[in-house]
């Protein structure tokens, strides 16, 4: 009985271990034997430093395969990259052959719509992956595969230069432009301009103007402050409304006058017109007196003349 129990225990140990090994091997790569894959080729005319066999291939960020081979086309000075794409990510129905055909059709159509591949950094380690995305435009002409490098029936996905290459090119261009700038000349001109400016500022007339400007500003500030002391916001609002009303009345008066003057006979009403002019002159004089009074005693607008006397 004890022997039987020991056998069961050993069977569990060995059987469990073997099953665990098979499961681990399945998850860690052997499952790929049962996955339909299709090879897609591309070429790069830039350095592929950081891209290795096994590097990921992503379609808009989704892992869809890996790099399976990297070779150099010596004559063309370009790097040919072979990628294995898992077809289940794109077409998950039908037999392997059907999946391949559908994927090929799909890829050709998408290339026409601007699908291209590009190398991207996978992180801070310098490793790279290949990203499939619509970097091209539908109206762009589809680049042809380099002659003799890619088979007629093989799937070819054109590549675009990577962003870091663009950045590098931009930097080189910027440095070139910077090197074309004559800093010494600019420095000399700047120095001369500063000297002229210094001479100008030391001119007595300019100094006097600045001093007078300062005085004017000080006067303005004092005036503003006194006005602020006398009138608060509500009073100012009331005054503004009153002034608007007076202006409206004045405009009505002017319009009425205009109408009347058109209607009347100037020759016959010359005396009336004269008396009107006299009255208007008197009114303007009164307004001037009022304005002067207000200037000397602004508080009378609120308190009135009589109130102040009291």
């Amino acid at each position: 009985m004890e022997e039987r129990e020991q056998n069961i225990r050993l069977g569990l140990f060995v059987g469990g271990g073997v099953l665990l090994l098979l499961a681990a091997l399945f998850f860690l790569g052997l499952s790929s034997f049962f996955v339909s894959e299709e090879k897609v080729y591309t070429t790069f005319s830039e350095s592929v430093q950081g891209l290795t066999e096994g590097s990921q291939v992503k379609y808009r960020g989704v892992p869809v395969g890996s790099v399976s081979d990297i070779s150099i086309a010596v004559d063309d000075r370009i790097v040919k990259v072979e990628m294995k794409i898992r077809l289940d990510n794109f077409i998950n129905r039908g037999t392997h052959e059907m999946q391949r055909q559908k994927f090929a059709d799909y890829l050709r159509k998408e290339i026409g719509d601007g699908l291209r591949c590009r190398m991207e950094y996978a992180g801070i380690t310098g490793m790279k992956f290949i990203d499939f995305d619509y970097f091209g435009k539908p109206e762009d002409a589809v680049p042809e595969a380099p002659e003799g490098l890619i088979g007629r029936d093989d799937l070819y996905l054109p590549s675009v230069p990577s962003t870091f290459k663009d950045i590098s090119a931009t930097l080189v261009s910027a440095i070139d432009r910077l090197s074309n700038i004559h800093f010494e000349e600019i420095s000399g001109e700047l120095e001369s301009s500063l000297q002229k400016l210094s001479n100008l500022l030391s001119d007595p007339a300019i100094r006097s103007t600045i001093a007078r400007t300062n005085e004017v500003v000080e006067h303005l500030e004092a005036t503003a402050s006194s006005v602020e002391k006398v009138f608060n916001e509500d009073e100012m609002q009331t005054m503004r409304e009153n002034l608007n009303g007076a202006l409206r009345s004045f405009r009505n008066l002017a319009e009425t006058l205009d109408k009347r003057t058109r209607q009347i006979d100037f020759h016959s009403a010359q005396d009336d017109y004269h008396s009107l002019i006299v009255q208007l002159k008197q009114m303007i004089d009164s307004m001037r007196i009022l304005a002067e009074y207000l200037e000397t005693d602004p508080q009378s607008v609120l308190q009135g003349k009589g109130k102040q006397e009291r």
Binding site: L10, V14, G17, L20, A24, L28
Partner: protein
């Protein structure tokens, strides 16, 4: 006899002793190799002993292997996390733990545990048999003690250790995963996905191949020092100690050599 002659005789004796000590392991290895064909004969392997050693080295060692591997994976995960979080690269904890456990720590920890459990036991057992003159009795009966006593242990270890390594690997990865998920807040699915993305079956199989080599070394060292034990109680203790020290030393040396060899094939 002159002093110089006495000195030369002593040097000669020391050299012969040293040569004997160097030859003894080779002699033992040769005897084991010569006994291997007997495994393929009918009743060549003593099943009862094989079962006993398989239980000793395998199923009875499983709990401690699982516990230590789980903790080792967790420790690796914490250490990786402490460094990788500085760069915002926590997800690479899965890479570090996975590769470390499968390639190094899984086989190595199991080997060290089995050295303590089985290697010393083999040496003590054979040493005691020598004290009791059971080995002499076997020789008197015309039974080759090396084949009779070593082969069941060797076969049991060759089977038990790779299986234990598989368990240890999985436990180590889950230990790292527990840290990644609980401490680093990496989603379980992301950690799992990253682990199966970066690891491959070949890496795991190469780790298990290491464990096969380690099992050979531990068994041979344990049995060799058991046979070399002197016929007294203290000799048994010494042989057990020597077996453990030699096993660990040769396991580490073999691990280093295998790592270099694997690097040649890109692993």
């Amino acid at each position: 006899m002159k002093n110089s002659e006495i000195f030369l005789i002593r040097v000669r004796r020391r050299l012969l002793d040293a040569a004997d000590k160097c030859v003894l392991p080779l002699e033992f290895l040769g005897a084991v190799a010569a006994a291997l064909p007997s495994l393929f004969r009918k009743k060549g392997l003593r099943l009862r002993e094989f079962r006993y050693y398989l239980a000793l080295c395998g199923s009875k060692s499983l709990p401690i292997v699982l516990l230590i591997s789980l903790l080792m994976g967790g420790v690796l995960g914490i250490q990786a996390a402490l460094q990788l979080t500085k760069f915002g690269a926590e997800i690479f904890t899965a890479d570090l733990v996975g590769f470390s456990v499968l390639k190094e720590f899984g086989p190595l920890m199991v080997a060290i545990i089995l050295t303590g459990r089985a290697g010393s036991a083999f040496a003590a057992e054979l040493g005691t048999m020598k004290v009791n003159e059971e080995i002499s009795a076997l020789e008197t009966m015309g039974i080759r003690p090396v084949g009779y006593l070593v082969l069941p242990k060797l076969v049991a270890m060759l089977l038990a250790m790779p299986v234990l390594t598989v368990f240890g690997d999985v436990a180590g990865i889950f230990g790292g995963m527990a840290i990644g998920v609980s401490v680093l807040d990496i989603p379980f699915a992301a950690y799992w996905s990253r682990t199966i993305d970066v690891l491959d079956g070949i890496t795991m199989l190469l780790g298990i191949l290491k464990s096969v080599v380690f099992s050979l070394l531990i068994t041979l060292a344990g049995c060799f020092y058991g046979f070399q034990s002197t016929s007294d109680a203290q000799g048994v203790g010494r042989s057990a100690t020597q077996a453990v020290v030699a096993s660990i030393f040769w396991v580490i040396v073999a691990d280093a050599l295998l790592t270099v060899l694997y690097s040649f094939i890109g692993y």
